[in-house]
């Protein structure tokens, strides 16, 4: 799965671009699937934003809009049994692992049909079946937990790999660097995926870190890293394949810095005054992962009607999830006292 411009490189620098040339590595079928998966996340998040606006979703709600190519491209590199873990901007990751839109949306509305029976909310969902280990609300905590999932893979010698996602903000936490050391020391099969969306809440990455190339943050421990155009699903997949293969071969951890962008605020209550409207519009118009995929598919000769069918399917799934999330009952009051401790055998 190595292709043209990326072949043999372990490191690339410079601004992310969205050159269609990079996307030729996918088959049309794969690209269509990626388009569908990215669109599902986009439409799901737009709906979540609406439901939040209607007061049906409470608390914090961090939307993934703009970053869809990262999780969709990376998920294409995984096999059954592999794990995924991330922080609180997690709806996209869950949908990418194949968790059901209904269960995710119903968790957002705090209903019993949600993945955590309504007890976790937007930031705390899990599915052992799909290999999704959360959904963690403490910035950076998921990185050492992810190293632990990889530790268990090594302990069991089962050849599985853990994708550990975190943002450019979390990449400054001390435990991230502790995890780099542990992962390199024990040769853990973990891909550290930094989703650099340029802003940790309202602080731009260059105001938060003296490290200008986060893909090289693991270099003191000899961890190879790449900067990747995270707006290009094929580029993400190509880099992901290299990283996952490295881990599966028992060669230890790998870092991928995804250059990506979130269109919405950090959370719903973010007025986003730290960046210009033009900056956001430029990313949307010139680098949008879904539009890029759409263009490539049309240029490759896919009939527009087929894309319309995908659009309609996705809209139906999202509408159904929103309906479910509003009709699923609130958790029974008895749930207040369950799931605190497990009974010892």
């Amino acid at each position: 799965m190595v292709q043209g411009a990326d072949a043999g490189t372990t490191k690339r620098r410079g601004k992310a671009k969205a050159p269609p040339a990079n996307t030729q590595g996918l088959t049309q079928e794969q690209m269509l699937q990626a388009y569908r998966d990215m669109l599902l996340i986009r439409r799901f998040e737009e709906k979540a934003g609406q439901l939040y606006g209607m007061g049906l979703i409470g608390g914090f709600c961090h939307l993934y809009i703009g970053q869809e190519a990262v999780v969709v491209g990376m998920q294409m590199c995984l096999q059954p049994g592999d794990q995924v873990i991330t922080s609180y901007r997690d709806h996209g990751h869950m949908l990418a692992t194949g968790m059901e839109a209904r269960g995710v949306m119903a968790e957002l509305t705090g209903r019993s049909g949600g993945y955590s029976k309504g007890k976790g909310g937007s930031m705390h969902m899990f599915s052992r079946e799909k290999g999704f280990y959360g959904g963690h609300g403490i910035v950076g905590a998921q990185v050492s937990i992810g190293a632990g999932l990889a530790f268990a893979n090594m302990y069991r010698e089962d050849g599985t790999v853990c994708l550990t996602y975190y943002g450019d903000g979390a990449a400054n936490q001390g435990q991230v660097f502790e995890s780099y050391n542990l992962a390199a020391l024990f040769k853990l099969p973990v891909v550290f995926v930094i989703e650099n969306n340029k802003y940790g809440m309202g602080t731009s990455a260059d105001r938060a870190s003296a490290s200008k190339d986060r893909s090289q943050d693991g270099s003191p421990w000899g961890i190879p890293g790449e900067q990747v155009d995270g707006m290009d699903v094929a580029a993400v997949k190509a880099a992901g394949e290299r990283a996952v293969a490295h881990c599966r071969a028992g060669r230890g951890p790998y870092i991928l810095e995804m250059q990506t962008y979130r269109y919405r605020g950090h959370s719903m209550s973010d007025p986003a005054k730290y960046r210009t409207r033009e900056e956001v519009q430029k990313m949307r118009e010139q680098h949008d992962c879904i539009e890029t995929a759409r263009k490539i598919l049309l240029e490759a000769g896919l009939p527009e009607a087929e894309l319309k069918t995908v659009d309609d399917d996705v809209k139906a799934i999202v509408a159904d999830s929103a309906e479910f999330a509003q009709t699923s009952p609130e958790p029974d009051e008895s749930e207040l006292w369950t799931d605190i401790l497990l009974e010892a055998r």
Binding site: E46, K47, G49, Q50, G53, M54, G55, I85, G103, S112, G113, G114, Y115, S116, K119, G120, H124, F126, S127, R128, E129, G134, G135, H136, G137, I138, A141, S144, I145, A147, G148, L149, A152, N153, Y155, G174, Q175, S179, N181, L182, M268, S269, P271, K273, R277, A319, F324, Q326, T327, S328, P329, L336, T338, D339, I340, L341, L342, E343, A344, R345
Partner: protein
């Protein structure tokens, strides 16, 4: 198909806002992502983006309108998909959960913790007789417990600083590397935050880590993972993701190591639902409770004491010996006053009871063994007999375990008390280094004797 655009809530607390400005006018074509309007809240000015495309057919709320309620219609859009018009359901209907919940490792049905439940009645049945005993040190008991459980379950492993090649900073893991190898007895770098998080992840994946802290003082570097990651995830996952892990190591004061190395963390960890907190005193406690902690499907904080490591106690030799977590032990029967203690203070309390006996006061001494869950039944049954309570702990009294025990006794047996409960605790100062000052800061036999006399109104 038309869609109604509603006044959005932009924060968890917003109920209304000012519609400051329309950026689109009636008849304008709208694309997803276009800014439609600006809304002012008490905190900020926010932009309302279009979610669907279409034509803005009608503006219902003119710009400049104050106090527009969240969810009221502000405009109409033609050609959209109707998403914004979706209405909250009036009556929820029953629906199935999205997927069958996967089995949590080593787990049975989830149970709730009800710390406020009334005691279930008289003290529990007497402890099982495990037959012949042998004198061993607490250190050996802990090592034997880990070795026995590691033989029993290959998912159990030990990690921490100096646990393998150095054989343990306090020699607790002596011989384990030889028997189980480097895969299961793992030296970590000095990186508590990182390796604790890693162990928690391994536990979530179904392994059963034992994390040794060289002392519990260093667990402060990792307390986020113990509380936010280990203790809360089962609840936040609706019961899907358990965390079977033991955090163990010496807790409290050793001798002459000053404030940063001499603190009792019992009340810190006991505060948290989702954790179990165990504090053994004798070798039998250490062995039986550590085996139970390793088998427990929940995160267990296991508080040892460095000074006790070298002390010898009789311990059952039965290979299956194990003690239940959550049961206190009456170490000495008495009728005049109940003394509740844990860890090293159990020894102090027993010595005090001997002195009290010489002065005609018959003290009952309860070894808590488990701080959370707290065996309040045994304590209350004892107080109903003696009508007086003294608590003893090495940590500070403020928000301490003694305060909790006393309060629960007041809740459950107020009418049985003939005197206000008394607390014996470490003094409310950081631990001093100087030998004389350190001695003054810690509870002594004499303090316990005095407290018992005061609650029995004897001089």
């Amino acid at each position: 198909m038309g869609a109604t655009i509603l006044m959005p809530a932009l924060s968890p607390t917003m109920t209304e806002g000012k519609l400051a400005r329309w950026l689109k006018k009636e008849g304008d074509a709208v694309k997803a992502g276009d800014v439609l309007a600006e809304i002012e809240t008490d905190k900020a000015t926010m932009e309302v983006e279009a979610v669907d495309e279409g034509t803005l057919t009608k503006i219902l709320v003119p710009e400049g309108t104050e106090a527009v309620a969240v969810n009221s219609a502000i405009a109409e859009l033609d050609g959209g998909e109707g998403g914004a018009a979706a209405k909250p359901a009036e009556k929820p209907a029953a629906e199935e959960v999205p997927e069958a919940k996967a089995e949590t490792p080593g787990a049975a049905a989830p149970v709730g913790a009800a710390t406020h439940a009334a005691p279930k009645g008289p003290a529990s049945e007497p402890e099982k007789d495990w037959g012949p005993t042998k004198s061993i040190t607490v250190r050996e008991a802990l090592r034997d417990a880990m070795a026995a459980e590691m033989r029993r379950d290959d998912k159990v492993f030990l990690m921490g600083e100096e646990v393998a090649q150095y054989q343990g900073a306090y020699k607790i893991s002596q011989g384990l590397l030889d028997e189980f190898g480097a895969k299961r007895v793992i030296d970590t770098p000095i990186t508590e935050h990182g390796f604790t998080g890693m162990a928690v992840g391994a536990a979530m994946s179904g392994l059963r880590p034992i994390v040794e802290f060289m002392t519990f003082n260093f667990s402060m570097q990792a307390i986020d993972h113990i509380i936010n990651s280990a203790a809360k995830t089962l609840y936040m996952s609706g019961g899907q993701l358990g965390c079977p892990i033991v955090f163990r190591g010496p807790n409290g004061a050793a001798a002459r190591v000053a404030a940063q190395h001499s603190q009792c963390y019992a009340s810190w960890y006991a505060h948290v639902p989702g954790l179990k907190v165990v504090a053994p005193w004798s070798a039998a406690d250490a062995k039986g409770l550590l085996r139970a902690a390793i088998r427990d499907p929940n995160p267990v904080v296991f508080l040892e004491n460095e000074i006790l490591y070298g002390q010898s106690f009789e311990c059952p030799t039965d290979e299956d010996f194990i003690l239940p977590i959550g049961k206190a032990k009456i170490e000495r029967q008495g009728k005049d006053v109940t003394i509740v203690a844990f860890s090293i203070e159990v020894g102090v309390a027993l010595k005090a009871a001997e002195q009290l006996a010489e002065e005609g006061i018959d003290a009952e001494v309860i070894n808590l063994r488990s701080i959370r869950p707290l065996d309040i039944d045994t304590i209350v049954a004892s107080v109903k007999k003696t009508n007086r309570l003294v608590t003893v702990e090495e940590g500070w009294a403020f928000s301490g375990i003694g305060g909790e025990v006393a309060m629960q006794v007041i809740e459950h047996a107020f009418d049985h008390l003939d005197a206000p409960p008394a607390r014996v605790a470490g003094l409310d100062v950081p631990m001093p280094y100087a030998a004389n000052l350190e001695k003054l800061a810690l509870p002594t036999v004499e303090h316990v004797v005095q407290a018992a006399k005061s609650v029995t109104y004897k001089k």
